[in-house]
């Protein structure tokens, strides 16, 4: 090992290092050069050991030359190493390949049913009005479904509601208005007829039909009841129109036609312009360009009286929106059956 610390020797060593580095072809060569020059007993360490014997007046210049050599060795090796790593990475990247055009694998994003979507939207729209959300039984007592709602046993109005009768003595509720009856009774019997009464209730309703594309034995309604002093027909229509416009946008047209429901007077049927045909007339809307989306009206005085409310001082309105119909209109489903077909190819895409 040379301990010649003359400037010429240091210069020669520098040149030797640079020559070795130049000849290095791979990372392993760099490792060998690093061992020769920078290890504990490497050339650079040995040269620094010889510094002790250098006269004091020469030490600064010799030390500076050695430091310069050490720095050149370290930076040269570092640069060479980086260069090899870079080319190795380049080579690796050239070889590696992933075909991302192959199909993805995912559990997919689920969805909520269009009817649920409509129910939740209406609930949100109604939130600022402070409606209490309640549910009621689907297997209902005739009293709540008919008798208390001003539908006597032999009134033709019962024809409107082809009813399922259960062996338990119940009926399957034909409308969510039965929840209205239960809540009016509860408010009357247990809460001192406290007003206002504002309830929202949605769920399944049933009609005993022979089923086809446009007739279903089961469908959904969203019931809303508001009992307070001073409510008018104008309020009823205002709230329904507000819901429809919030659901479908301001351009959606709403109209009201007279209807008959024994539990309301006056009774109104809200209609919207048909989405499927854009009001041109199609089988979905019976050629009329308009689709009835529910039933509504001012609560009949006989219903209020039945539960102990004075119809001369208290008024109220109620409506049942057909959420199945609203959903079919919202998602361009041409017939009601499509709402309940549970075709995942459709449902996954809708909401």
């Amino acid at each position: 090992m040379s301990s010649d610390l003359s400037a010429a020797n240091i210069q020669a060593l520098t040149e030797r290092f640079e020559q070795q580095l130049k000849m290095a072809q791979q990372q392993q060569d760099v490792e060998l050069i690093k061992r020769d020059w920078l290890s504990k007993d490497g050339i650079v360490k040995e040269l620094f050991k010889g510094l002790r014997e250098v006269p004091a007046e020469d030490k600064p210049s010799v030390a500076a030359a050695l430091n310069d050599l050490k720095q050149r060795v370290e930076s040269g090796l570092e640069a060479k190493e980086a260069s090899f790593k870079q080319s190795a990475l380049r080579k690796q990247l050239e070889e590696e390949y992933l075909d991302l055009s192959l199909p993805e694998s995912t559990p997919g994003l689920g969805s909520i049913h269009p009817v649920t979507y409509v129910e939740e939207r209406i609930t949100e729209i109604l939130r600022p009005f402070g409606f209490q959300s309640v549910h009621g039984p689907e297997l209902e007592e005739e009293y709540y479904c008919f008798d208390s709602l001003n539908i006597p046993k032999y009134h033709p109005a019962r024809d409107m509601q082809d009813t399922f009768y259960a062996e338990t003595g119940h009926v399957l509720r034909t409308h969510t208005t039965s929840v209205q009856a239960r809540m009016l009774q509860a408010r009357s019997l247990f809460e001192g007829k406290k007003l206002p009464l504002k309830i929202a209730s949605f769920g399944k309703t049933y009609r005993n039909e022979t089923e086809d594309a446009s007739h279903q034995a089961m469908f959904h309604q969203y019931e809303l009841v508001w009992v307070e002093e001073g409510l008018t027909v104008a309020n009823l229509m205002g709230l329904i129109t507000h819901i429809i416009k919030e659901l479908y946008g301001k351009r959606r047209k709403v109209q009201f036609v007279p209807k008959f429901y024994p539990y309301t007077e006056p009774s109104l049927g809200p209609k919207i312009d048909c989405t499927i045909c854009r009001s041109a007339g199609c089988p979905s809307c019976g050629g009329a360009g308009w689709v009835t989306v529910g039933g509504s009206g001012m609560i009949h005085r006989n219903v209020l009286k039945e539960f102990g409310f004075d119809p001369d001082t208290v008024s109220g309105f109620a409506f049942g929106l057909g959420t199945s119909r609203l959903a079919s209109q919202m998602f361009n489903m041409p017939h009601l059956r499509a709402v309940y077909e549970n075709d995942l190819r459709v449902l996954k895409e809708i909401v």
Partner: protein, 709 residues
């Protein structure tokens, strides 16, 4: 009801209704807008446009062209030109005596006529008949007058009526042969029309064959009457019949409409009263009329201001209001009320006595005639009360993200199943489950019972979607299931808890089949892998509800006996999950294994909590793995529960990291990983080893758990 536009335009000026666009014509829209909804349109060159109208159940007066014309008149303010009633009834009594012995028939008129033979049908009448010439011309005339004026009438062959006509209530069930040749059983309490020997008609429903008019009939007795709507309805229902007459009587016919209808008939039949028999026309022989009481003159008083306020039409003029009411047939008196207000005293027309009772009814009439769409709409005031959500709605909102994120699609299943399906389920459960609720009158065999589980429905929907090519159907449904309670139910009203019903409750159900992921073309998951993925969703739902999933043994009859577990939130069993029973799969044509979970919404709501905060330790954890023997058909999760119950200090987590079964052995080797971690300090290996020794000793001694060799 069939509405002939040609007949209507003879009575009133109507909006345009071209044959080629009748369905979207101004007349059609006007009819819809006044509540006479058009349900069908027929157009023929002979008859022109015929609308099928859905009339309202309380408006018997709409069942005639005159009734429709009146309603249009109230809207358009055009005058109604009533059909000519120039025919004369006779002053002479009918030769057949009439005995009206029940007030269920409040009015009864009998017109005796002789008829020419043959009697030709007028062309203008024939144009409106479905099958002109099929019946005797007098029958077609009666039908025509009903179509025009709304009064149902019936013709008896006078030669077949013996002695007299008696109107009475039946005191026992009777059997008759009707005009259609069929035999019917008529219930007790029906209004019957009889002669001295036999029943000749069931009042308001149908006539009997024994007195029917035939081609050879030359003398008839025309009956025009008013029958009690409820009696007619009960009778018609019991007989399983709905005729044009019964439909009208059930909804109420005009008590003052009998005489005009008979005069119209006489006019159209070309007959004249009391003259010699005309060779071309019919001839009135006699006329008898009997009534209980004169129709009520009902008055409704209403303030003009109230009507305006209800519709928010402050500028509605008194003159307009009065005119519209008059066009509807009301007699109107106006009197001054307080301030500038006016009180209208409205005398209800006879044809509206069935439905107009009070101010709400006349408000509806005004709204209809003005058009509700003209009324201003006013949004009611907002509320500062917080809207209260139903617990099941809150539950649904909480769990939906967990299901949606796992790829589950919400479906809506039907509420029913068939008797065959009930038999299948009862066979599986061997009577151990709750009693099914049967429906008595379902029109569809598939709707004969209410479901008490959702497994059949979800299996069917999975199968249908697999057939549609959906490779990874994953579905969920929050639905109602039904069963009869074991205890009798109290009949008195109760303020029930929000989720408590006697015969039904909500359940959260979800199911999957096929592959787990979509777009996967490689081999699908094994049942074991699918089970773990499905259980992950169960755990996700439970976690969303603020709890941790644990499972236990279960014996649900609709799941595979060896592939199911109960779902627990903490220690509370809230449901069950597992592989759908092969018998159900087969029934639903579901050809692959499928997983199903059913959770009781009441219990989920009860045990649902919200997370108040999370504490994590920054000190290092130490883990120890141990492999234990678990019997082949035992739940490895049992050990997890035992470890948890042992309450080892600083044991922060226990999990299963391997499950190995060597063929031929009756046990499995299950590796459990115990993780120890303190929130306050770094644990030492010695203390962890000591804890493990204690735990293993406890498991071996108390529970017989063995280390695997």
């Amino acid at each position: 009801m069939k509405l002939h536009v040609r007949m209507l335009e003879k009575l009133i000026e109507i909006p345009e209704c071209p044959a080629d666009s009748a369905g979207s014509s101004p007349l059609r829209h006007l009819l819809d807008d006044i509540g006479l909804e058009v349900k069908g349109v027929d157009v023929t060159p002979e008859k022109g446009v015929i609308f099928t109208i859905e009339t309202l159940a309380n408006r018997g007066d709409h069942l005639s062209t005159v009734g429709v014309a009146r309603e249009l008149s109230a809207r358009t303010l055009a005058k109604v030109g009533m059909p000519s009633v120039a025919g004369q009834l006779s002053d002479r009594k009918a030769s057949i005596l009439v005995r009206r012995q029940t007030d269920a028939c409040s009015r009864y008129a009998l017109l005796e006529m002789s008829l020419p033979s043959p009697m030709p049908l007028r062309n203008d009448v024939a144009a409106y008949m479905d099958e002109p010439g099929k019946h005797h011309a007098i029958v077609d005339l009666l039908n025509y007058v009903q179509m025009e004026m709304g009064q149902p009438m019936h013709a008896f062959d006078a030669s077949k009526v013996e002695g007299e006509i008696i109107v009475e209530l039946s005191t026992a069930a009777e059997e008759i042969v009707a005009l259609d040749g069929k035999t019917y059983r008529v219930p007790e309490g029906s209004i019957l029309i009889k002669d001295r020997k036999k029943i000749i008609a069931v009042a308001g429903v149908i006539g009997c064959a024994n007195s029917m008019v035939t081609e050879g009939t030359t003398k008839v007795c025309i009956e025009a009457a008013v029958f009690d709507p409820v009696r007619v309805r009960i009778t018609a229902r019991a007989m399983g019949l709905s005729t044009d007459a019964s439909y009208a009587f059930e909804r109420g016919v005009d008590p003052e409409g009998i005489v005009p209808a008979l005069k119209r008939l006489v006019y159209l039949a070309g007959g004249s009263a009391g003259t010699a028999k005309d060779t071309e026309g019919a001839h009135v022989i006699g006329y008898t009329y009997s009534e209980s009481t004169a129709p009520e003159k009902r008055k409704v008083k209403v303030l003009l201001s109230w009507l305006k306020r209800q519709l928010d039409l402050p500028r509605l003029e008194e003159l307009e209001v009065v005119t519209r009411f008059k066009n509807l047939g009301y007699a109107v008196d106006v009197a001054a009320a307080s301030g500038k207000d006016k009180e209208l005293s409205l005398t209800v027309p006879s044809w509206r006595l069935y439905d107009v009772q009070n101010v709400d009814d006349v408000l509806e009439d005004l709204g209809r005639s003005v058009s509700f769409n003209r009324a201003r709409q006013v949004l009611p005031p907002l509320s500062y009360e917080l809207a209260e959500r139903h617990p099941v709605e809150s539950l649904s909102q909480t769990i939906r993200p967990a299901l949606r994120g796992a790829g589950f699609v919400e479906i809506i299943s039907r509420g029913f199943y068939s008797a065959q399906e009930v038999a299948l389920l009862e066979g599986l459960s061997r009577g151990a489950t709750a009693k099914h609720v049967a429906l008595k009158n379902s029109l569809e065999a598939s709707n004969s019972h209410m479901k008490h589980t959702n497994v059949l429905h979800l299996a069917t929907i999975l199968a249908a979607n697999l057939k549609r090519g959906v490779t990874n159907p994953k579905i969920y449904d929050i639905t109602r299931v039904f069963s009869s309670p074991s205890e009798p139910v109290a009949a008195t009203p109760r303020q029930r808890e929000a989720l408590e019903y006697d015969y039904e409750h909500d359940v959260l159900t979800f199911a999957s089949a096929g592959r787990w992921n979509e777009g996967e073309w490689r081999k699908g998951e094994s049942v074991e892998e699918h089970a773990r993925l499905f259980k992950g969703v169960v755990a996700g739902v439970v976690k969303a509800l603020g709890s941790t999933l644990s499972v236990g043994k279960s014996e649900h009859p609709y799941l595979h006996p060896g592939m199911q577990a109960s779902i627990k939130m903490g220690r509370n069993v809230v449901g069950v999950f597992g592989v759908i029973h092969p018998a159900i799969r087969q029934h639903c044509d579901l050809r692959v294994d499928a997983f199903y979970a059913e959770m009781d919404a009441r219990l989920l709501c009860k045990h649902m909590t919200t997370t108040s905060g999370v504490h994590v330790s920054d000190f290092p954890a130490i883990t120890r793995d141990i492999t234990l023997q678990v019997e082949r058909k035992e739940q490895a999760g049992r050990v997890l529960r035992l470890v948890k119950e042992a309450q080892i200090p600083n044991l922060s987590d226990t999990s299963i990291v391997d499950d190995f079964h060597k063929s031929g052995e009756d046990f499995r080797r299950v590796t459990y990983r115990m993780t120890f971690q303190s929130a306050e300090r770094t644990l030492k290996h010695d203390e962890v080893d000591a804890a493990m020794t204690g735990l293993l000793g406890s498991l071996q001694e108390k529970h017989g758990v063995q280390m695997a060799v």
